[in-house]
């Protein structure tokens, strides 16, 4: 039954250049532009901003938010949202330090139990959303409060344990591989794995399909529940990994400090990076660019000694601006609540 497969257009060089440009995408080009503007601005104000040391500082500071932004991207592409990632990271941070101490300074036990707890919490989110039929925003908003509360309860609201005597935690926080800090390697590996998953596997295709049109996805034989619950479980697992890194960076389990506000950062990065909040659109490349942009902005503002309250204002503004631009492109009619 094979008919002729003659392509309608012969591949040509200009076409290839256009394809390259197309694969970068308009959204990403504007992000690269914004990043360049931020770099030029702060670089001219303070030459040290562009130093290798400061770039590493920016990257390390952005790692934890970056990990969360990567999984947030997956959840958003599915058409969901996870506001509880920061609280999950805080809970995992506390668990990792406390189990580490209780198990007689065993890093594998601390890290393993933190990852297990994170995955379980993520699964729980998914089950509440799917089988409890709770809107994802509401379900994870509840999780945001509840998991933070649990972290505060088990830790008594204080930093717990001290892990930097342990070589594994030390390696996570201070170690380097081939000149790059371990933390950055972790972000690169997770981001690359998720990118491959989304782009080159049938799992990724199905994830985009679910977020793009869930009815059509169901009728095409995709098991929606399995995918959605797995996405939330993945979100929990990676949030827990971020929590472990938080413990390693600060030296102890932190129930709240360091993890609060990460949900906003991760959602902002995903939206700036081109994820449609309705689902079905977005990618890891854009999200990572947005993470870099946010990190550079935050670092530049700090270096310039600008009140950190302004950083919250900047972040909120960016999130709204990102969504407004997205909706303008959709040409949605401005009547009633947005779809």
């Amino acid at each position: 039954m094979t008919t002729s497969t003659a392509p309608t257009t012969a591949p040509q060089r200009p076409a290839r250049a256009r394809a390259l440009l197309g694969s970068v995408g308009g959204q990403n080009l504007s992000l690269i532009g914004a990043l360049a503007a931020v770099v030029v601005l702060f670089g001219s104000l303070d030459p040290n901003f562009l130093g290798w040391d400061n770039i590493q500082v920016i990257a390390e500071a952005a790692t934890i938010a970056g990990l969360l932004a990567v999984v947030q991207t997956v959840v958003i592409i599915c058409g969901g949202l996870d506001i509880s990632v920061g609280s999950q990271a805080g809970l995992a941070s506390v668990v990792s330090a406390m189990v580490f101490t209780a198990a007689g300074s065993s890093a594998p036990a601390g890290i393993g139990s933190a990852l297990a707890v994170g995955t379980a919490v993520g699964l729980f989110n998914g089950v509440v959303i799917i089988y409890g039929r709770v809107n994802p925003t509401i379900a994870t908003l509840a999780g945001l409060a509840a998991y933070k509360g649990v972290a505060q309860l088990v830790s008594d609201g204080r930093a717990q344990g001290y892990v930097l005597g342990d070589p594994i935690f030390l390696f996570l926080s201070r170690g380097k591989i081939a000149g790059l800090p371990t933390m950055i390697w972790i972000l690169i590996l997770v981001a690359a794995a998720v990118h491959v998953l989304l782009t080159y596997t049938d799992i990724g295709r199905n994830i985009y399909a679910i977020g793009g049109n869930d009815t059509a996805a169901r009728l095409a034989g995709i098991n929606l529940n399995k995918y959605l619950i797995s996405a939330y479980a993945l979100s929990g697992a990676v949030a827990a990994l971020a929590g472990v890194l938080l413990t390693a960076r600060t030296g102890s389990g932190q129930p709240v400090s360091g993890s609060e506000g990460l949900e906003l950062q991760s959602i902002t990065a995903a939206a700036l990076g081109g994820c449609a909040l309705k689902g079905g659109k977005g990618g890891i490349g854009g999200t990572l660019l947005a993470v870099a942009l946010l990190g550079a902005l935050q670092n530049g503002l700090t270096v310039q000694g600008i009140n950190s309250f302004w950083q919250n204002v900047a972040q909120g503004t960016l999130l709204v601006a990102a969504v407004v631009i997205q909706q303008r492109r959709n040409r949605e009619r401005a009547v009633g609540l947005p779809a």
Binding site: T3, S4, D202, I203, Y208, A209, N213, A216, K281
Partner: protein, 528 residues
Amino acid sequence: MTTPSRSPAAPAHPPGLTAENVGKRFGAVQALRGVDLNFPPGQVTALMGENGAGKSTLLRILTGDHRPSEGRVLLDGEVLDLNSPIDARHAGIRIIPQEPEIIPHVSVAENVYAGALPRRAGRRLDRAELRRRITADLDRLGFAKVLDPDLLGSELTAAQRQLVEILRALTGDTPARVIAFDEPTSSLSEHEVEALFALIERLRSQGIAVVYVSHRMKEIFRLADRIAVLRDGTLAGVADAAETDENDLVRLMVGRDLADLFVRQNVATERVVLQVDGLGTDDVHDVSLTVHAGEVVALAGLIGAGRSELALALAGDAPVRTGTVALSGRRLRLGSPRRAIRAGIGLAPEERKAQALFLHRTIRDNTSLVSLERLRRRRFVRLRAEKDLAQRYADRLRVRAPSIETEVRTLSGGNQQKVVLARWLARRPDLLILDEPTRGVDIGAKAEIYQIIADLARDGVAVLVISSELPEVLGLADRVVVMQNGRVTGELSRSEASEEAVLALAMADDLTTDSRTDHHASTGAQKP
């Protein structure tokens, strides 16, 4: 043709709504050019044309939704400056949209007067006045028996939703002078269509200029005084309905004869593919039917007869309560679309945008989705193989697009439908269910879809087609199964099937089975 002609002589303008040298450009695309067309009062002027021919652009210009790039719009010789649909409404130009806008949680009365509800002091709704007004308007317009003003928006049938739009058009502070109907019958059953036609006749006799956009020939010959055909953004011709026929119109629209649309062949075999026995779900009851390999079976009936529900049940998307379904002799345990697909059943559902397509993904993505299991190696999609597959079916079905990397949302309705068909052809199911495969598709693409169905049957696929267009049912089917109220009311062989016979079975429960729908148009070309 390029500049608006403002002839200083100012010829006597005809009464009614007039488009004068109207053109519309969207960026580089000239969607409409040089259209001179008059819609006289007291006449029904039908507007026909393939999708993309410019019907909706013209309609939007006439109703104030778009501003023309060239030319002007006049009402009774007076130039209109329409900046918004509200301006058009004030001028007396009303449109009944294809998809009525209904507020679900409020009553019919509040829906009709939404935006101008009667109020008492303190902005409270004046319910007594509202009731008085709706009762008066329903009586005046003769809808008192068909529309209960207390029903909620969410409780209305498709026909009632349309009635609400019509009421909106006919009420209001200025009297209606022009009413445009945009494919009004696409979601109505046959007797609802009759009621709509009676209403349009009345509007005409009241001196209102009626604009009637439709694909359906029979309706147009039934209703229209004049027929205007658009093609590629220009006016291809205007004809008196009495002096033209379907073949002329099709030729005007596409340059091809109507009789050539259907493909006649005899390739049905004796091998049973689908065997349904006593199937019951929440919506269909005790359905039994068979489809053989190479056979095209049409499922006919009125809207709401349970045909789409049966299709969804066979595709695994509705819980089965009773009965059995077997495919090629193997009994199926239905219950999820996944299982149905694996067993060899494919469904191209009724609402292709809502139920089948991923509008922001490419033709390639949309085509390969149900075939990924065959295209992957260790969960990695083999891109080369995927592209070959998508390209092969895009070529075979003649999908018109720059490339298979084009996003599906940019395609016309017909090409979108072809992408849905390509998805299933690539999967090669044993049974393919097509629910309204040519709805909203222009005539050229319709002919191509009929050819695809014929090719499928020749390849030995069992095809079950749901269609609400009787000429299509009769033109396509080897056998017709008719449903009403969730039950099969009869089965007709190709030689037994006629419009009258199908309609009689479709309305078997209604005692009056008069076949009045069908005395006006000549559809000989479509009958077997």
